[in-house]
């Protein structure tokens, strides 16, 4: 009890007596505010969790493909003439050797025939003999993080071995996917901000209506010479306690829903879905969220009270 009081006094929200000069605990207005805060906290949790999930998805896609490229050596030249396998092997070796000595390249691997066959199988059909089908040569390259290089210059150099060689850095389609997830992320941030603004407006409205109901009592305190901070502290404390209670309820429901979604996603085993495991920092931020909502409620209450009191003579 003592510690709580000390903590509250530290925040400037506690009084020696646990009673308000204004009859704030009368009526159902408090329950409405608590429910509202619970709902807003729940929605904010979903919003923040969506941001985390989309960020994880973006990170996974970009980290898996960033600094990586695929080099394709088509099995025929630009006029359509199919190369001999020996020519393909020579070309592949030349490109491999060139890339191994290229300063920006970290590792280079030649994809073996079986892997290439498994890649084209979905398009050509299973059980097909590939002996007479010209297969391209494919090399996967990963680049050094700390070396900046020009991909166009690299591609031009590769084309000196054979003009039909293609360098695919995945940037074109990855950029589209990242743009899309970025837009979703932005929408999630926007929704979270809207939830925050709605909370502010709702708390301000609730406090204003309370002040209208207890206008006579407020005026009395004002006429007795009560400082604005003396009056606002009481409403701040009242809103903070309700907000903490509401935020705890919202967090509990939000946490439960997220846990269930996580379980469901785990059972579905869909590789495209992001990993729902949260990092320590993300857990910390989610724990901070209800406190942030409560703090937002308290600050809004304070500003609202001070604004209303400023209108008194």
């Amino acid at each position: 009890m003592f510690k709580i009081k000390k903590f509250e006094r530290g925040l400037g929200i506690a009084r020696k007596r646990r009673q308000y000069d204004l009859p704030l605990n009368k009526g159902n207005g408090g329950n409405f505010l608590k429910l509202l805060i619970a709902l807003m906290t729940f929605l904010a949790m979903l919003g923040v969790a969506s941001i985390f999930a989309l960020s994880a998805m973006t990170d996974r896609w970009s980290s898996g493909l960033e600094n990586k490229a695929t080099i394709e050596i088509p099995a025929k030249d630009n006029s359509g003439t199919v190369f001999e396998q020996s020519h393909m092997d020579t070309l592949q070796d030349q490109v491999f050797n060139f890339l191994q000595n290229y300063p920006a390249v970290d590792t280079v691997e030649v994809m073996d025939k079986e892997e290439i066959k498994s890649l084209v199988a979905p398009w050509l059909g299973e059980g097909l003999s590939y002996d007479n089908i010209p297969l391209p040569g494919i090399l996967t390259v990963s680049f050094k993080d700390d070396v900046i290089f020009d991909t166009d210059a690299l591609e031009n150099k590769l084309k000196t071995f054979a003009p039909q060689i293609r360098l695919d850095t995945h940037q074109s389609w990855l950029a589209d996917v990242l743009r899309f997830t970025g837009a979703l992320n932005f929408a999630a941030v926007l929704i979270t901000i809207v939830i925050g603004i709605t909370t502010i407006v709702a708390v301000a409205g609730a406090v204003q209506s309370r002040m209208a109901i207890y206008h006579e009592e407020l005026e009395l305190l004002h006429l007795m010479g009560a400082e604005d901070s003396y009056i606002s502290r009481q409403l701040q404390r009242y809103v903070l306690i309700l907000s903490l209670q509401g935020a705890a309820i919202g967090t509990a429901i939000g946490g439960l829903i997220m846990f269930m979604v996580g379980l469901l996603a785990g059972e579905m085993d869909i590789s495209l879905l992001p990993d729902f495991h949260l990092s320590i920092m993300q857990i910390f931020l989610l724990i901070c969220l209800p406190l942030l909502v409560a703090l937002l409620g308290m600050v809004t209450a304070r500003q609202t009270v001070l604004r209303v009191l400023a209108q008194m003579p």
Partner: protein, 233 residues
């Protein structure tokens, strides 16, 4: 102490409730404010306890023009004024004790100090056995005594009371008038709005402010024969 210079007050675009009111009340003086119903007594009182701002003129309290004072300074002035409202304006969710203690808590007094002062005053006004009772469960007279106790607990420099003895029996009324007298002797300026002519006759040594049709007249107390003789010799 209190100075009104050409003060006017109107509500919205309506006619002036008070027009060109001029008076000066000295520190430690005692006045009755009377006049017919609707003459503007409550409005004048509200200007004195800084519940309203005049629409024109200058109001000075304790030597300072309140129109030029900052918000914080006005709070300090209000803390030096005790008010007994006609409708008491008690906080019904609080005990009688807490209602009386409220001005001291606003001023930041210690709980020990508050308890000692409030207990003593509650005994004095005959409410010693009603400390924890809620005002709305008490009689009109008891509520009025709480309102008076709340107004005087801080020993204000100015006490404004609107019909303070209206619901009280003669004995308690007289006792409270004596309390006002005692406060007055300690330097508190007292203004009592009242219709009670008997009360005003009983305390005829005090001057009367008569408000009629928004205009104020000051009538000085009748001098006793002794005072008249003192004036001649």
């Amino acid at each position: 102490m209190i100075k009104f210079e050409h003060v006017g007050l109107r509500y919205g675009v309506g006619p002036e409730i008070l027009s060109d009111v001029n008076f000066t009340l000295d520190q430690g003086s005692f006045h009755f404010l009377s006049g017919p119903s609707g003459a503007g007594k409550t409005s004048l009182m509200s200007l004195m306890y800084l519940g309203r701002r005049p629409t024109r003129g200058i109001v000075s309290m304790f030597g300072q023009n309140v129109g030029q004072m900052g918000r914080h300074d006005l709070k300090k002035i209000r803390q030096r004024i005790g008010v007994v409202f006609q409708d008491f304006r008690l906080l019904n969710h609080m005990s009688a004790f807490d209602n009386i203690a409220l001005p001291l808590r606003i001023m930041g007094e210690s709980e020990k100090e508050i308890k000692a002062n409030v207990d003593e005053l509650m005994e004095w006004v005959g409410l010693g056995d009603h400390r924890h009772q809620l005002p709305n469960t008490m009689s009109g007279g008891q509520q009025q005594r709480i309102a008076i106790a709340r107004a005087v607990i801080t020993r204000p420099r100015l006490l404004l009371a609107d019909e303070p003895t209206g619901n009280l029996d003669d004995e308690i009324g007289l006792r409270l008038m004596n309390l006002f007298d005692q406060l007055n002797r300690m330097g508190t300026t007292i203004v009592i709005a009242s219709h009670n002519t008997l009360l005003m006759e009983k305390f005829s040594q005090h001057s009367r402010l008569i408000l009629d049709k928004g205009q104020l007249r000051l009538i000085h107390p009748r001098k006793t024969i002794k005072q008249k003789l003192e004036g001649i010799f």
